[in-house]
């Protein structure tokens, strides 16, 4: 258990050093048991539609990708590293302007060389996803 805590702390530290995640203002708020969660605050510079103030879909992609990679690293097999092979995102609705944005990912299957991930993006409303994603990632051993 102590080991898992150490690992979570190391992962958190690693993800805090990712320059793009820092630039977005994203934080790793959950890590462990093949799952990871990232959250960030709404920011005016990241708006995609100035008429509504809705955050751009590209930001959602970045959160999905990061949480997906983190979920792979949180798998009990403990890969040494990972990279995205493919990521497909379905956009259900616009994220509410001003609301926090979160991405939760789960690595639901891992082979020797490939990890499969699903993820969901949420704003303040837990019941209605902003977007869902599925991805495949490399597994470095």
């Amino acid at each position: 258990m102590q080991q898992d805590d150490d690992r979570a702390r190391a992962a958190k530290q690693f993800f805090e050093t990712l320059p793009h995640l820092r630039a977005l203002g994203g934080r790793l708020v959950g890590f462990g048991d093949s799952r990871a969660e990232i959250e960030m605050d709404w920011r005016a510079e990241l708006v995609g539609d100035p008429r509504s103030g809705v955050i751009h879909g590209g930001v959602v992609s970045a959160l999905m990708d990061t949480s997906g990679g983190a979920a792979v690293m949180a798998h009990p097999d403990r890969p040494n590293g990972t990279a995205t092979i493919s990521l497909r995102i379905d956009y259900m609705r616009a994220a509410t302007p001003g609301s926090k944005l979160r991405a939760r990912a789960e690595c639901f299957h891992m082979t020797r060389s490939v990890a499969f991930v699903r993820a969901v993006a949420l704003d303040d409303d837990d019941e209605r996803p902003v977007a869902t994603a599925t991805g495949s990632f490399t597994v470095e051993r």
Partner: protein
């Protein structure tokens, strides 16, 4: 009205103004530093490298999310450009980026699927999109991004878009 005898400079400035108006109102495009290079109706999205685009600082490599966002922006701008081209050419639409009114509405992404082919190096990136189907309600776009070699794309994507309704 566009015609054979319309002064070339006027044609060019009208087209460039149209491209600028599409992008001008989108803060996130400016935040990433993306600009567009136009040759006739062909658009190339350009993403100059900067440190804040880095995902993995050890390699270093461009963040996969940045790559996805870059492809998605290239795709939506190309789609909007393709959908207003006739109106811009005929002179029915005269977008002006210097007027602080929002530009043409961008299409909404329904889904977007990215293939990561190799890691994005700490260099400038380029992308070109192709509208596979331009519909009244739904459109389909393919897009490819490269860095040093056009023949060696580092990422590609296809996406489906819901077209803006009612102007």
């Amino acid at each position: 009205m566009s015609g054979r005898n319309e002064p070339l400079e006027r044609i060019k400035s009208r087209r460039d103004a149209a491209v600028a108006a599409i992008v001008a109102g989108v803060p996130y495009v400016a935040w990433l530093g993306i600009c567009f290079d136009r040759r006739g109706d062909e658009l190339t999205a350009v993403l100059p490298f900067s440190d804040k685009l880095i995902g993995n600082p050890v390699l270093p490599a461009i963040h996969g999310g940045v790559t996805a966002a870059f492809l998605e922006i290239a795709a939506t701008v190309e789609l909007t450009w393709a959908s207003i081209w006739d109106e811009v050419e005929s002179g029915r639409m005269t977008p002006d980026a210097s007027v602080p009114s929002p530009g043409p509405r961008l299409a909404k992404t329904i889904d977007f699927s990215v293939d990561y082919l190799r890691s994005g190096l700490p260099r400038d990136s380029y992308a070109r999109a192709r509208v596979v189907r331009l519909g009244r309600r739904y459109s389909s776009v393919q897009v490819e991004a490269w860095q040093d070699n056009r023949a060696r794309p580092f990422a590609m994507a296809n996406g489906h878009f819901l077209m803006p309704q009612g102007g």
